[in-house]
């Protein structure tokens, strides 16, 4: 039967051609909607996965987070090329669109455990701005001293133009740091860690 034949049904006249077209339209629209929905749902899923991964990546970078705790308004950028076996994170800290500091995370052997330090060097005056103890499991009776602020403060303001020397009784030179008797290995390990960062700063970053 030709498609253009008009039929009377319930008082209404239907055009079969347009009926088929309309049917096709609805069919394809439905199909399109299904496809769109699928793509949309997949996109949403991918987006959620991406967000989770991003959150995990950010959460995983504890070091960057800890740096943000000290420099909340700064933009912190990781420099992979300056990282070494011991110094496994190097960050540039930007303030007012300029690099103001370099933060390095270094891992050294202590008396009983690995000691992890964040060493911040102020690039504007080439001094050690602060040394932060991130992780250690030294013994309670000996290792406690390197957790003390009074010990870590001994590094603050030290020049980054030269390596630090270990002193046992008192500071006699500008670059002397007095280690703690009774926690000699642990406190000397901190000096060693800071020296690695000073060296890396001068060789690979500055």
């Amino acid at each position: 039967m030709p498609s253009s034949v008009k039929r009377r049904s319930s008082g209404k006249i239907f055009d079969l051609t347009s009926f088929h077209l309309e049917k096709k339209f609805y069919f394809y629209r439905a199909k399109g909607l299904i496809l769109f929905n699928r793509i949309f749902i997949k996109t949403i899923k991918l987006f959620i996965i991406a967000v989770i991964i991003a959150v995990l990546v950010y959460a995983h970078d504890h070091e960057k987070q800890s740096m943000h705790a000290y420099y909340p308004d700064a933009f912190i950028f990781r420099i992979h090329k300056s990282e070494t076996d011991r110094i496994y994170r190097v960050y540039q800290i930007f303030e007012d669109h300029k690099v103001s500091r370099v933060g390095q995370i270094v891992n050294v052997n202590g008396y009983k455990s690995d000691i992890e330090l964040l060493v911040i060097i102020d690039t504007r005056n080439n001094t050690v701005e602060r040394v932060i103890l991130l992780k250690e499991h030294e013994s309670e009776d000996y290792g406690e001293y390197i957790r003390q602020n009074w010990y870590l403060k001994r590094f603050h303001g030290k020049t980054a133009d030269m390596l630090l020397d270990i002193a046992k009784i008192r500071e006699e030179k500008e670059n002397d740091v007095v280690i703690v008797t009774g926690a000699t290995i642990s406190s000397a390990a901190v000096v060693y860690g800071v020296n690695l960062c000073i060296e890396n700063y001068n060789m690979n970053i500055r």
């Binding site: 989770i52 995990l56 010990y151 703690v180």
Partner: protein
Amino acid sequence: MLGRKKYMGLTLFVIICLFLFSGCASESADQIDSPGETEAEYVIISGLTEEDIQLTVKEVKNNYEPVSADVISIDSAGDEEQYHVKGALLHDILMNFDASQKDLYAIRLVAGDGYQIEVPSEVLKARDVILAYEINGEPLDDKTKPLRAVIPDERAMYWVRNLINIEILKGSETEEVSKVVFMETAFKTLNQEEYTYYENIDKAVKIEDLMSQFEIAPSIETVSFVASDGLEKNETGEIFKSSYFKITGEDAPLFLSPDMPKGMYIKNILYCTASDTLFMSAEQALAKYPVNDEGGISLPDIFTDINIAKSSNYVLTGADGYVVEVKAEDIETGIIVKDTKGEYRLKFAGLDKSSTVKNILMIESK
């Protein structure tokens, strides 16, 4: 469809796990103590026979009857810690070499990190010395190997870990004290150096300078210490002369050295005796001995405590060189007081003012 969902879920789970656990990996990598090579681990016993005796841990384990004990260690702060130790008795080992622990004058326990301590005869007579190779059911860790000396009911300072040498010490007669030097006054006559002591910068003097000033022979073998808390300890002359007295701040006078393990420091020294000279802290003495109505301490109380040579006369010297000679019977009325300048003076109740010595430096038996 379900398979793909499962696959995606699994992938997501693996990614999350990787991130979560990679951060913990380095922290969980604690060292596990290996059983150790007992053949290569040994302790030297010296002074018992002509030649040093090398005793392996394996020999200690196999050749001597093991003893187990629940013991409590008490540190200098009074903190207690309980252990279950297993080892051999030093007494059994010495018996094997025809010696008895009870008959020894003293032994010196030496650790691998330089820590050393003399165990006096009274402790050797009264206590067991366990050479422990197991603590709390575990073999010793790397820092404690090859053996740990454990002396139950004695202070933790005798519990030497990483024990590498047991020196058998020969007895020597105690020399009488013929000279008492008051530390605080003596320190003023010496070069005082800055000494960083934890968070503080205090003053310290070199003991070498003190020995030179008061003509103590550098070859002196042993120096004995008595601290305010009752601690009595001997130290070798070699260690003594290369060390310092920290004279200000916490725990002063404090015997210390940058090359000495912290456990060997002696806090709040009441006196120390080197040869025939006794260095006394007047500050610690004022805290230790009974104080009379005048706020001073009685000289006879001090003399009773120290082994000063009996004499008919005593010569008293001040920091300014002022010298007075007093009779032995006058010593009975001697009082040491701290004056308003923070200096110590020695005065006598029954004598005139000329017998008073300001800034007392020294008392010598004549």
